[in-house]
Amino acid sequence: MASTVIGQPVPQVSALEKVQGRAVYAGDLAFPGMLHARVLRSPYAHARIRSVDVSAARALPGVKAVVTGADVPERRWGVAHKQQHVLAKGVVRFIGEEVAAVVATSESVANDAIDLINVDYEPLDALLNAGSAFDDDAPQVHAEGNLAHEIRIARGDVDAGFASADLIHEDVYSTQSQYPGYMEPMATVATVDGTGKLTVWTATQSVFLARQRLAEALDRPVSTIRVHQPAVGGGFGGKIVEERSSVIAAFLATVVDRPVRLGLSRLEDFQSGCFSVPTRIRLKMGMQNDGRIVAKEVDILAECGAYAGLAPEVMLVTAMRSDNMQRIENVRSRARLVYTHTMPRGAFRGFGGTQMLFALNSHLATMADKLGIDPVDLHRRNAIRTGDTSVHGWSIGSCGLPECLDQVTGAIGWSAKRERPETGGVLRRGIGMAAAMHVSGNRTMGNWDGSTVTLKVNEDGRAVILTAESDMGQGANTMLSQICAEELGIPLSHVTVLAPDTDTAPYALGSIASRVTVNAGHAMLKAAKQARDQILDAAAAKLGCDAADLSIVEGVVQSTVNDNLFAPLPEICRYHIFRHGGEGILVTATHDPRTVMMDKDHYGNIAPAYSFAAQAVEVEVDTETGQVQVVETWLSDDCGRAINPLAVHGQSNGAAVQAIGWALHEHLQFEDGRLMNGNLADYTMPTADALPRVNSSIVESNDPNGPLGAKGASETAILPGAPAIANAVYDAIGVRITDLPITPEKILAGLAALGEKNHASV
């Protein structure tokens, strides 16, 4: 029987409340006696704080507290590198770093008080350019030096590989930071209750990681803190554990012992925002004439800004993940992460994959050209396949990459467009493609990548799901509701997913590494099956038949052998309670995938499944204005199985747009470490009128380890966009842009250089 829920294009369970403006975000919360906080930020990239005079701010009527670095706990917080305090202590390391905070009766008073704080800074030389981090006279960002992290990975015999190559190509690529651009700027409300417990409502992708960090930053036991996740307006990686405002808000609540709200304006969110890691990537690759990759060497310089955060983990992905997309044996990577006196950079949708896949796909297109091979064939020839174990030990349970390539090239008319004669003229068209892979889950935060779901079936037969896996807009709650409804045989509208709460929900890692569908989906499936078994056992007892002959169909427990034997689900659920020894239906199930942690050589099957994507685009380049317009885009995502195709298309299309923004439009401009365009008028994210129709399609490779065959969707889809566009630009005008973003100025300069070269060769 075809499912009425699984695989159906179901609108998000939160869609109606969101479009009606009734979803409650952290910034919407208000409590009696709530106070308002504002933050003072450093205007210097690097300075010693000589003194802070807060007397005038404290004296302002309505001000309840003014705190500085001197008032915050000594303990430092961080991911692997413990480096940060709640507020800067003694030294500021980037423009925008939080130096002091005010709590007052209104935002307006708090703003006035901020203006009255007088900080005496001693400006110091700043390291603003990652490329200078190792210079002899480079200012040191931290006492231990400017190298935050270094990774070296080597497999096979790279030198022999290059020696056997017919073609060797080497180039340098660079990628810029991207602002996550979520609809909801960071907001937090925190309060301390009569027992001393600190409760925090914040925009987060993981309440338990948020709680862990708060415990560290505020130096208090984990169990004295409770974190709630209200509705979240997008995260894209920026709301994992690197943003800082929730930590400040929680600390302020402990200072004033009253509810405190800290909502950032868009401009402040830009000042404090967690941007993606910029990289410079040197890539050298050897191929045989048939296109087979025989050696690959990578050297990466990545910049984490003032504090490491998650950037070391991000860089590890840049350094090795895309190696697993292809059947290669000889690879060597060196990656160095450096500090600079700029804002911290870290997790971003794709988690380091976008950077390397820009380089890799650009490189493959160039080498395909040199070998006279269609780049699609080149990808196909090297693609990893179902059943393979990759060079880094990843077991590929399913790989729909060839099908993704088929779908996007078929849709865009790849072969016909490749054959088109050159037309000349002012406007030139070109096509390009790229391929990508990503993990679904990642055993990286300790030896557990599990997920636990608690399911309650009420006495009316409706279900409540308790989990701390986060829905930040991507659709986790809808996915869980669909699986639950399907297994229990009840309508989707009879399922509720409770908002994550560390005090009531089972421990969870949250929405990172595309792990929720693949892991929480499994836990949901198990929990629902358990509840279903309990229901059927109770029904069997009540109806006097064998549980194996019963099923639940549209809210009715029905015998499969005797049509007259049935009972409405609510009746069974009540019976489950109202009998001697009865109880309400409450089950908990955990799924921990059979993956391993990487060993010290970064080897091991870290994820239960791996997802793939491909994208083909057509661009039109205006050779007089340098403007690049994406005129057609097709993206195909191998998500294993689309539990909700509508959600997968939404994620694919959103990812494609974010990739177009990164490739062409979004460019953070820094001058002396200062962000010059930190607003949405000057930092131009593409809006609807900047885009063509965005098309996506789905490949269902049915992963053996995925719940119902499903893998993660969304992060993979952001990966191929930028290189597909760069390749299409090259196809259109013969200019290879290796440093993102692809600006009109670079296009015009490239055309001019090409003109001179052609002129010279005549």
């Binding site: 205007p43 203006d115 000042q271 002396d672 962000l675 010059m676 607003n679």
Partner: protein, 161 residues
């Protein structure tokens, strides 16, 4: 923000130099300057009003001359505070007076200005262009001051003769 400005004056370098170092003459030439207080030969405090559209900032700017070689080079540092828009400005400025072949002087200003506070975070694009426009106004005013002084000298000379 780095600003480089240039203007050619018909006057010789020493006359331009004298004018540029006369704080009261400058008060008439610098657009928006409300008053100037001479602290010493090398230190001034000026009050300036700058308006961009409907936003106006009132800066109290302290300028210290840190190096000078008459009549061709001057370096000064300025710091300014404004309370209306919660901003401050620091700048290091260099002025080069280069005589040209026709007896005139080319004035070149190199300035490195840092804007802190709200003005600094709001995108400096308008301020950059505003600086260019103020320079045009300033140069016109200096030219006029040089002319006025010049015609005054002429008259004086005639009357002596």
């Amino acid at each position: 923000m780095d600003i480089e400005l240039k203007h050619d004056f018909a006057a010789p370098a020493d006359r331009l130099w004298t004018l540029l170092l006369d704080p009261h003459a400058m008060a008439n030439c610098v657009p928006g300057m409300q008053s100037v207080e001479v602290v010493s030969d090398t230190e001034y405090v000026a009050r300036m009003k700058v308006k961009i559209a409907f936003i106006s900032a009132s800066f109290t700017i302290r300028t210290v001359i840190t190096e000078q070689t008459s009549p061709d080079y001057l370096r000064c540092e300025s710091t300014g505070e404004d309370s209306a828009v919660g901003s401050s400005v620091k700048s290091i400025n260099e002025m080069f007076l280069i005589p040209d072949a026709n007896g005139g002087t080319s004035l070149r200003v190199k300035s490195k200005a840092t804007v802190f506070g709200r003005l600094g975070t709001l995108g400096l694009n308008p301020m950059r262009t505003k600086a260019d426009r103020l320079w045009v106004e300033f140069c016109a005013a200096v030219e006029k001051a040089l002319e006025d002084a010049g015609s005054g000298q002429e008259t004086q000379r005639q009357s002596i003769a």
